[in-house]
């Protein structure tokens, strides 16, 4: 069983959703990232999404845009991201690590190179924002051959007719983007999330994680009651940016935020039952 499948299964066995956390690799510096990732795990994150910085993050809001620029400004390269992943894998043999980013940095040296390097670094899955199922050839087959999960995105505009195509070749988990928009801004209405998750779960056996606009423990708990996973990114990335701007090590702030989210996710269904 893959690390992603094992982790979602273990969370389900505990009767709770998984907490998936995103940070941009190399933000604010490549050297600071290892401590930040450790803080995510210590705070209770179950799955780590490591963002690959890109000059043109078209699907991201201001917080993650700035994180991309901080990271690139600090000299982060693709090799450094892979080093960060490799070192994480040595420190945390069982925590799933997913690379998330845009097509161009992933395909720059060819899909074979990327798939091989990611597998060697111990990466479990890849989320590529701008490779829809229609362009799966560009990266999907080589990643699957390398044993790496392709995590697909479903959105409020993905209708029932289209969903089977999106699910074909998807593995790891299904990432439901709860708002038609960019990262970190709006929050979707809880009722619409519940309806969408129910529709997705009827169509796939993959765990369904919900993200975009999830910021607070209360929001995370509400989603954790209905979904298999909760994804939080911009709120953590903003804290990293704020700490970096004050010249502080971001990892203690990161720990505190993630601990709050994790406690909320772990108790969400107990509160519901009580």
């Amino acid at each position: 069983m893959s690390r992603l499948a094992a982790t979602f299964a273990a969370c389900a066995a505990e009767g709770r959703a998984a907490l998936v956390t995103f940070v941009t690799g190399g933000d604010p510096t490549p050297a600071a990232t290892a401590d930040i990732l450790d803080a995510l795990v210590a705070g209770g994150a179950d799955v780590i999404e490591l963002g690959m910085p890109f000059t043109d993050p078209m699907a991201d809001g201001p917080a993650i845009q700035r994180a991309n620029l901080r990271s690139l400004g600090a000299g982060t390269t693709t090799d450094i991201i892979l080093d960060i992943a490799r070192n994480f894998r040595q420190r945390h043999p069982h925590v799933p690590l997913v690379l998330m980013g845009y097509a161009n940095p992933m395909v720059r040296r060819g899909p074979q190179w990327f798939a091989g390097a990611a597998a060697e670094a111990g990466v479990d899955g890849v989320i590529c924002v701008d490779i829809p199922v229609e362009e799966d050839d560009a990266l999907g087959p080589t990643l699957r051959d390398a044993g790496i999960d392709i995590i697909r995105l479903a959105t409020p505009t993905t209708d029932k007719a289209r969903l089977p195509a999106v699910l074909a070749g998807a593995s790891g988990f299904l990432y439901y983007v709860s708002v038609a928009g960019i990262t970190g801004l709006q929050q979707a209405a809880q009722a619409s999330i519940e309806a969408a998750v129910a529709g997705l779960k009827a169509a796939t056996d993959l765990p369904v994680a919900v993200g975009f606009g999830v910021r607070t423990p209360a929001q995370a708990a509400a989603i954790a009651r209905v979904a298999d996973g909760v994804v939080v990114g911009s709120a953590i990335v903003e804290a990293i940016g704020a700490a970096a701007a004050e010249g502080r090590d971001p990892s203690s702030d990161v720990f505190n935020i993630v601990k709050g989210l994790s406690d909320a996710v772990r108790t969400a269904r107990q509160e519901q039952a009580a």
Partner: protein
């Protein structure tokens, strides 16, 4: 908008069903946009087959844009260069002063067909923004133009024009605050407003079907050129030259000639300070294939796939990519792409002013510079057509500054 001819091995049948021109093009967009992109493609197929759509497009081209634009024999430039007979395709005489309006008319007709009630667009120098604001006013649709904050500061006359036309101009603060960032921001806005918003992309790039439909709307340039040169000379030209940023005017004049192997086609890329410097915008000469803004094409990028900033004296060419069909035409060798520096373009700009009484856009001056290079090597009975894609009134401040003149 002429249908591609059904001849064997035609080069005019691209892209394929998935929007690919060979290895280029495609639909590299976020899942949120994908259903809309598919809708747009369906609607465009229906419009293409609808005689009423073509009739309305043609009527607006004639009475609103002022087409056909003349194909003008340039006697003094021809004499000055001492070689081929030079004809200028006068796109600068169109309403709003450039070829951009052809595409905007086509796309706003599609927007209306799709029932969209808001228009957005990106702009660099402001030419596409002005053309979009113009058609939005004509069709009574609210319009927001995304423009890098740096460009807003240096293109105030166009910002004011857009506002006069009723558009909102959103100054984009992200990245380098120029065209690439304006396009990123327009895409972000579109993702959040897909239900009611139509994005009028300004060049023959972006996700399929944009490169195809922009090319089709701009092909009016080449279709007219073909008929006009037949009337004037009784034969096709030997060479056609056009400037290439994203490449919509160039693909528009080239496409109707792709299946005429005796017509040499030359696209001119902006070489800025020179290809041996990092300050240029020549994606083919100085770039490599990659994925940006919805399509796979030649890009200025580093070894990690990070996109480089482009530079050109001409804001309309100042983009680190190129339309995917150009990338394909380069790879198969049908079109030759040549570089032209800022300095060469500036010289050609002044030459045309003085010899023909035409102030060309700096974009068009790049093509004129390559014409000056090539015409003397051609025989006096040979024919060279240059696409004067826009007029240079917008550029007089830039040119004055380069020439050390204070206005």
């Amino acid at each position: 908008m002429t249908p591609a001819p059904a001849i064997p091995n035609s080069l005019r049948t691209q892209p394929d069903a998935r929007g690919h021109f060979g290895q280029f093009g495609g639909r590299y967009v976020a899942e949120t946009l994908m259903p809309l992109i598919l809708d747009l493609e369906r609607e465009y197929r229906a419009a293409k087959a609808d005689p009423a759509f073509k009739a309305e497009f043609d009527d607006l081209m004639k009475h609103y844009v002022g087409r056909p634009s003349p194909l003008y024999f340039a006697p003094r430039l021809t004499e000055h260069l001492g070689g081929a007979k030079i004809y200028l395709k006068r796109e600068e005489l169109n309403h709003t002063g450039a070829h951009k309006i052809n595409n905007c008319i086509g796309q706003i007709l599609l927007a209306r067909r799709m029932g969209k009630t808001r228009i957005i667009a990106e702009t660099g120098a402001g030419q596409h923004g002005v053309a979009t604001a113009t058609v939005a006013a004509r069709f009574g649709l609210p319009c927001t133009i995304f423009m890098g904050a740096v460009d807003v500061a240096r293109q105030q006359p166009n910002v004011f024009r857009m506002k006069l036309l009723g558009a909102e101009v959103e100054a984009v603060q992200s990245g380098a605050q120029t065209l690439k960032d304006a396009m990123n921001e327009a895409l972000r806005h579109w993702v959040a407003n897909v239900h009611d918003t139509f994005y009028i992309i300004g060049t023959a790039a972006g996700p399929h079907p944009y490169p195809e439909l922009v090319r089709d709307f701009q092909s009016v340039i080449g279709d007219e050129t073909r008929a006009q040169i037949m009337e004037a000379e009784g034969r096709l030209p030997d060479t056609i030259i056009a400037p290439v940023g994203g490449g919509s005017n160039a693909i528009g004049i080239f496409h109707p000639f792709l299946d005429d192997p005796d017509v040499a086609l030359i696209g001119v890329e902006a070489a800025g300070d020179g290809l041996d410097t990092p300050r240029h915008a020549a994606s083919i000469a100085g770039g490599s294939p990659g994925v940006l803004h919805g399509n796979r094409t030649y890009l200025l990028q580093d070894e990690d796939g990070q996109i480089a900033e482009a530079h050109s004296i001409s804001a309309g060419l100042d983009y680190p990519g190129i339309g995917p069909e150009h990338s394909w035409l380069h790879d198969i060798g049908r079109v030759r792409y040549e570089p032209c520096t800022d300095a060469e373009a500036l010289a050609a700009f002044q030459t045309l002013c003085r010899l023909e009484g035409i102030i060309p856009a700096l974009e068009s001056a790049h093509a004129l510079a390559v014409a000056e290079r090539i015409a003397p090597t051609m025989g006096k009975d040979e024919i060279l057509v240059v696409n004067v894609s826009g007029r240079g009134d917008k550029d007089i401040f830039t040119v004055a500054k380069e020439l050390g003149v204070e206005l």
